[in-house]
């Protein structure tokens, strides 16, 4: 009896101390923001990443596991710009978590902190998968990661005020390492400037903007519409007039359309990791860009 009581009181103690030190629960919609939150939050945060690099974030099931995780989140970190519109609103309504509702400090949208590209001048679903706020694939430019990092660090400090100085120190360290790494990538990638490329999905405008790549064609006839054989043939004909060095796709895209073009146009097909976890090498944000730049350079040889 005495032992049982002892064990019980011990476990109660354990539970209470655990909750007193409980880390901030971060629910990241995409792997890149999960990785960024981990960089900036260290051991003060517990990060749950809702999707992986092999999934198309436009189309995710509002799974029960995601509802359960969102229920206990203190901070929601997503891209925004309607990237998650097909599933996040349902999760938010089902989770009943007041901390992470739109407008609350616990709701962080990365797209608010960068300059958006490809803002459509006309909103019509006849144009395919249109994002009124601009192209949401902002994570392919490290300068955007830096900007989002600045804002996310401030948000962490706001949501978890007692650890504000910790987050500031973490951010200072990260920002410096990131700046150095960015310089390195830019130097490495200098020969890619002006290179003509074909993309499978319009997922790389920010990468193109960063490295000065020229997108000459898209395999999807319209954003979010699977490549058709007639459109692929058109692209092939176009490439005879206007050659490109390579065809690029994200890890989650089906490889068939790129392969088809690659074989016929005799240009390499490159699968970029697109986000953390998209290749064996892309284990964190730094190795994501190491790998991205390396793959582009290898293909450009």
């Amino acid at each position: 009896m005495k032992h049982i009581f002892k064990a019980l009181s011990l476990s109660v103690l354990l539970v209470t101390t655990q909750s007193a030190q409980a880390a901030l629960n971060v629910f990241a919609c995409e792997p890149e923001w999960g990785a960024l939150a981990q960089e900036l939050g260290g051991d003060k945060v517990t990060v749950f990443t809702a999707t992986n690099a092999l999934q198309d974030v436009h189309h995710i099931e509002a799974k029960p596991s995601l509802v359960a995780q969102l229920r206990k989140a203190d901070l929601l970190v997503c891209t925004g710009s309607e990237l998650e519109i097909g599933w996040l609103p349902v999760l938010l309504r089902q989770a009943g978590n007041t901390n992470v509702l739109a407008g609350k400090a616990g709701n962080f949208e990365a797209a608010h902190y960068v300059r958006m590209l490809e803002i459509p001048s006309r909103l019509d679903r006849a144009d395919g998968d249109v994002h009124p706020g601009g192209n949401p694939h902002i994570q392919t430019d490290p300068r955007n990661i830096a900007k989002v990092g600045d804002a996310l660090s401030q948000r962490l400090a706001e949501v978890d005020a007692p650890n504000a100085t910790f987050y500031q120190a973490k951010h200072k360290d990260f920002a410096q390492r990131w700046q150095e790494a960015s310089k390195r990538w830019e130097t490495q990638a200098a020969p890619l400037k002006g290179m003509a490329i074909v993309v499978q999905h319009k997922g790389f405008p920010y990468l193109e903007d960063w490295l000065g790549l020229r997108e000459v064609a898209t395999l999807e006839p319209k954003p979010g519409v699977e490549p058709t054989s007639s459109h692929l043939s058109e692209v092939l004909t176009q490439l005879q007039r206007q050659p490109a060095k390579m065809v690029i796709r994200a890890a989650y895209n089906s490889e068939r359309p790129s392969q088809w073009l690659s074989e016929r146009a005799k240009i390499p097909a490159v699968a970029l990791p697109f986000t953390v976890g998209g290749s064996d090498r892309a284990k964190d944000l730094f190795s994501l860009f190491d790998d991205t730049v390396q793959r582009l350079l290898d293909a450009a040889k």
């Binding site: 992986n52 229920r71 958006m116 979010g224």
Partner: protein, 452 residues
């Protein structure tokens, strides 16, 4: 400034030149010429430098302009109009073409099933057009209205509810008219169904789909495993009945859902629900002991148990090319009350008790981007039925209605779907109805997010 000075001096010298020549001092003239040449050179160099500087300045200014333009594009992308706060509006358009081997006088042998059930009429049918308007009311509430515009030009309020968003501890309270969260399929709108029609068990025991006027309380447990509990209390408008004009309610239900992931490729949800509803004057089509078509009416109490599960699979959780969904539900119903036989003529009321059940199992496989194929099997078990005073009018049947359906659908985007379905419907003991449906479903407007 500096330019002007040089210019003045150069001009002055040019005028002085003839005078200097007159002086006829060649040495002096040479020196003067050299000086002029030097000045001219320096003047040209300076002009050139200035031009370069001007060019650079212009480029920088141009860049600044471009940036300002881009910034203003971003700024103007934000809505400023007074209608910017309009709610999300979505419209579902749907239509069916049906080819059937039997007439449209539908009933389910041995079941007093009411509501909008059956395969509908033959030929071209406009489906229900659904108009949905949803938005946050204020920081505390979310609300919405879903109107069903029927092909006979009537409008029905399918859902009209408000829901809290800021209650603590994972609690949500909903009030108004809404589809009950019992079972798996019940709270899903028709445009998200995987088949043209709902399972026989839903048609027999829930009048196709149970929506009520009332309140719902839901609680989501703070666990890694999805664990949700809920209760509803309402008027009891089941199967097209009006509900009771009484204090209190005519229907109560409780439900629990549990769910999670199995690795990254599959996820599941299972549930258990109980509904206690007291319909008043629930009309059902039937065939009497003499073989004539009759309409009966039930007033009493109905208790329904539901067990449901769904399992979804996609390689790495990416359903773009391949996915599979398996779902099944079991419903058990106990009914006690008064049944009026043939309300239009005999109108003989007698005691009615029935204990019956039914189930379905369906699988939908996405085998190519945009293309899915599905198979569903439905069955009802006649169970035990006692017609009391009407035993002579309505014969007991040990017939178990069943149906098998296969479908193929094509969804070129998440907003459009075209479906072909064939069914062999043995709801009626006397005749098998072979059905072919071609259906389209399109969604316009606000981007709907679908439930699991």
């Amino acid at each position: 400034m500096f330019n002007q000075k040089i210019l003045v001096r150069a001009i002055a010298l040019t005028f002085l030149l003839p005078a200097a020549a007159k002086a006829n001092d060649s040495n002096e003239l040479e020196a003067l010429r050299a000086e002029i040449q030097q000045m001219k050179q320096s003047y040209e160099t300076r002009i050139q430098t200035l031009e370069t500087r001007l060019q650079t300045t212009e480029t920088v200014a141009g860049n600044a302009d471009k940036k300002a333009e881009e910034a203003s594009v971003q700024a103007s992308a934000r809505p400023t109009a007074s209608n910017a706060l309009n709610p999300d509006i979505s419209l579902i358009l749907s239509g069916t073409y049906a080819n059937r081997s039997q007439d449209s006088n539908y009933h389910i042998t041995g079941f007093q099933a009411g509501g909008e059930i059956g395969p509908g009429t033959k030929g071209f049918n406009l489906g229900e057009s659904e108009l949905g308007v949803y938005a946050s009311v204020d920081p505390n509430f979310y609300g919405g209205l879903n109107l069903a515009l029927a092909p006979d030009n009537t409008i029905g309020v399918e859902e009209a509810f408000v829901q809290t968003t800021t209650l603590p501890y994972g609690v949500t309270l909903k009030a108004g008219r809404f589809f009950s969260s019992i079972g798996y399929l019940n709270d899903q709108h028709a445009h998200t169904w995987d088949f043209v029609d709902n399972p026989l068990a839903y048609q027999a025991f829930l009048g196709n789909q149970f929506g009520d006027d009332g309140i719902q309380l839901k609680w989501l447990a703070p666990t890694d495993l999805f664990l949700e509990f809920g209760a509803e209390y309402g008027r009891g408008r089941i199967a097209d009945t009006e509900g009771r004009d009484e204090n209190g309610g005519g229907a109560g239900s409780i439900f629990a859902h549990v769910g999670g992931d199995l690795g990254i490729s599959s996820s599941w949800r299972a549930g258990l629900s109980y509904l206690d509803v007291s319909p008043k004057d629930r009309k059902s089509n039937d065939i009497d002991a003499l073989g004539s078509d009759v309409t009966n009416s039930f007033t009493g109490n109905s208790k329904v148990w539901l067990a449901d599960f769904v399992w979804k699979w996609a390689p790495n959780g990416n359903a773009t090319n391949t996915s599979f969904k398996l779902q099944g539900e079991y419903l058990h119903s106990t009914q006690k009350g008064d049944l009026t036989y043939d309300v239009d003529q005999a109108a003989n009321t007698g005691r009615y008790t029935a204990s019956q059940d039914g189930w379905y199992l369906q699988g939908v496989y996405k085998f190519l981007p945009y293309w899915r194929a599905g198979l569903r099997y439905d069955q009802l078990n006649s169970g035990s039925v006692n017609y009391g005073d009407n035993a002579a009018n309505l014969a007991n049947s040990s017939y178990d209605p069943k149906r098998i359906s296969a479908m193929l659908d094509f969804s070129p985007s998440e907003f459009s779907r075209i479906r072909l379905q064939v069914s062999s419907d043995k709801s009626r003991q006397e005749a098998t109805d072979n059905q072919v449906f071609i259906q389209y479903q399109m969604s316009l407007g606000a981007h709907g997010a679908h439930k699991y």
